[in-house]
């Protein structure tokens, strides 16, 4: 159990910056998720923590002890790799026992720890097998077992579920959470999957191009994204993001983009007043905040904007119905009741609930965050 601090951490490969000025604290017992697209630096940050990559600038502390110059084995961290990294020539027992053997633990204690870990992970029947005779999920559990027996201060997990099929991913996700709940070990978890991030992390760190974009609780990051990147990265289906400009019409501020004219709510207008009229902005409305009105009975209100649109695509996914509707210059995705009898080509009214909408400035930053 340990507290981890990244202080001004940077990593450069030649002139290219893989990680830039990351300041982050992971509290004791916390499950922190590093989320971002491929190449954003999240795995590099994890490897610097593990000692598998050198730090170009900055310090890493584990329980107030700087570990930059400590070799990996002396940092008291254990890592679970994306491709498991099991030793193919060893049995499951030997794979799990390997770190204990390397650190000189006696055979009796090794046997006890390996047996315990195998019981926790349901690996008892497979101890004599080699990795080639195991399924993906079983291999992942062996990799976890090898990490658990070390009783490390910190678990590092580098996209451990990405090689599993969808159903197994859900199952293993639950197992990981149960394990964390039981062991309470500080965990840093890397993923590009927002579902994993939202469901697993106490906090998530969204990264892009080596920079930390936002840190916060999953729901907070989802509800209050600091910029267009975070807003677009979290949420499925993706947030509706449209660029346009602000235009004052009397005492009401409008968002205008081509033929689209959305009167802003008082909340959004107060944010927009910090900008000049005609300023370039972007509006973001999540699909679940758009209602599809087939009979055009909706009434405009301060926080409800109405748009006429034509349905271009209807995607039933079982629990929801995704309706893709075009309004002249823009396409809007709405998530609605799966039993709504909407057809492709239908003329509908889209009711945009602006209560949770976002307004982003010319630099992409959320005006509400300033």
């Amino acid at each position: 159990m340990a507290r981890v601090e990244f202080v001004e951490i940077s990593k450069r490969y030649g002139d290219s910056g893989a990680v830039t000025n990351v300041n982050l604290t992971v509290e004791d017992h916390e499950f922190l998720v590093l989320l971002g697209p491929s190449g954003c630096g999240k795995s590099t940050l994890l490897k610097m923590m593990a000692g598998l990559e050198d730090v170009s600038d900055g310090e890493i502390y584990i329980d107030d002890k700087m570990v930059n110059y400590l070799p990996p084995a002396q940092r008291n961290v254990a890592m679970v790799f994306q491709n498991y990294a099991l030793y193919p020539h060893m049995t499951v027992y030997d794979n799990i026992a390997f770190p204990l053997k390397m650190t000189g633990v006696s055979k009796e204690i090794t046997k006890q720890k390996v047996t315990n870990a195998a019981q926790v992970l349901g690996l008892d029947p497979y101890l004599d097998r080699r990795p080639e005779h195991l399924s993906g999920g079983q291999r992942q559990r062996v990799a976890l077992g090898r990490a658990i027996v070390r009783e490390p201060a910190v678990f590092l997990m580098d996209e451990p579920l990405s090689n599993l099929d969808a159903q197994l991913r859900v199952q293993t996700r639950e197992e990981l959470l149960r394990l964390h709940s039981r062991l309470q070990t500080t965990t840093i978890y890397v993923t590009h999957d927002q579902i994993e991030a939202m469901t697993m992390g106490h906090r998530i760190v969204v990264m892009r191009s080596g920079l930390v974009q936002q840190v916060g609780k999953p729901q907070d990051v989802y509800d209050y994204p600091v910029n267009t990147f975070v807003a677009a990265f979290l949420g499925s289906p993706r947030i509706n993001l449209h660029s346009g400009r602000l235009e004052a019409d009397g005492d009401r501020l409008h968002f205008v983009a081509g033929t689209i004219r959305i009167p802003l709510s008082d909340r959004l207008a107060s944010l927009g007043r910090s900008l000049t009229s005609g300023a370039e902005v972007a509006i973001g409305v999540r699909p679940e905040d758009i209602e599809v009105d087939l009979e055009s009975t909706s009434q405009p209100a301060n926080e409800v904007a109405l748009l006429s649109a034509k349905v271009a695509l209807v995607e039933p996914v079982g629990s929801d119905l995704y309706v893709n509707a075009s309004n002249g210059d823009a396409t809007w995705m709405a998530r609605t009741d799966p039993r709504l009898p909407v057809r492709r080509g239908a003329e509908v009214t889209l009711a945009l609930n602006l209560k949770h909408a976002h307004l982003f400035g010319p630099d992409g930053r959320n005006l509400a965050a300033e």
């Binding site: 490897k47 593990a50 000692g51 598998l52 070799p71 990996p72 084995a73 961290v77 254990a78 890592m79 790799f81 994306q82 491709n83 990294a85 030793y87 193919p88 020539h89 390997f98 770190p99 390397m102 650190t103 090898r146 070390r150």
Partner: protein
Amino acid sequence: MAIETRFEELEPDLQTRQVAKPRPFFRADNAYMIMTYGILILATLIAIVPFLYVISTSFKETRSLFSYPPRWIPDNPTTVNYRKLISEHPFERWLLNSFFVATVVTAIKVIIDSMAGYAFAKMRFSGRDKLFMLVLLTLMIPFSATLIPLYIIVRELHMTNSYWGLILPPLASPIGIFMMRQFIETLPGDLENAARLDGCTEFQIYVRVILPLIKPGLVVLGVFTFMNQWTSYLWPLVVNTKPEMMTLTVGIQSLRSLFTVDWGILSAGAVLSMLPLVLVFIFLQRYFIAGSIAGALKE
């Protein structure tokens, strides 16, 4: 909905259906196959006939060596050539020298080449790639260009007519380093990372993780090296002049005197020197093939 098939609906189809004519044997693709096999059989005969003739000659008496027409199976097969070879010449000494040198060179090269291959494939150090290029460049230098300088060095170090002179120079061959690097490069990088986190030193990673996984590569290198050393002729000829230090290849060649050649004994020597290689090939032939294409294909 039941699916029904009525025979009368099928019958017209059966009546009008064309029966396939038998295909002629002498079609274009058959002719190609015959030609291909013909060429392969001819090439095999060209390669194998000399071997068979040597074996046949080794069991013939001297007087029947040049009989006409030549007989593939001797009328009175005899082992006198083999007995003479062993009793009148230091054949066992030649055999021991070849076996000792080939085995020691193979054992040392497997160790040092795999270490060097691991360093070039997986370790990070300044100048690694340039150093590897330099090692590869030495492959382009023909042995005939380095023979004399190498002899001078060995002579100055007083290693002529000794096992050191036979063993040390072949250890510097870079082909094994290249082969091992190619094998080791195919191993996932996360395996060593996991081993580092598990507490292994670099040497322990090499011994406990890398070596067990490149066993096929080690066998290929061992077979390749042993075969090269067993058949090596020019260097052993140059570096050793004493009869007791001759290897098998040099010793058998010494059976040819200036004016006469006892073909029977020479053939017996050739057969006996060939035997170990044939046995190695029979049991490890897949490693011969792997060695010849090692590194040619991206895994």
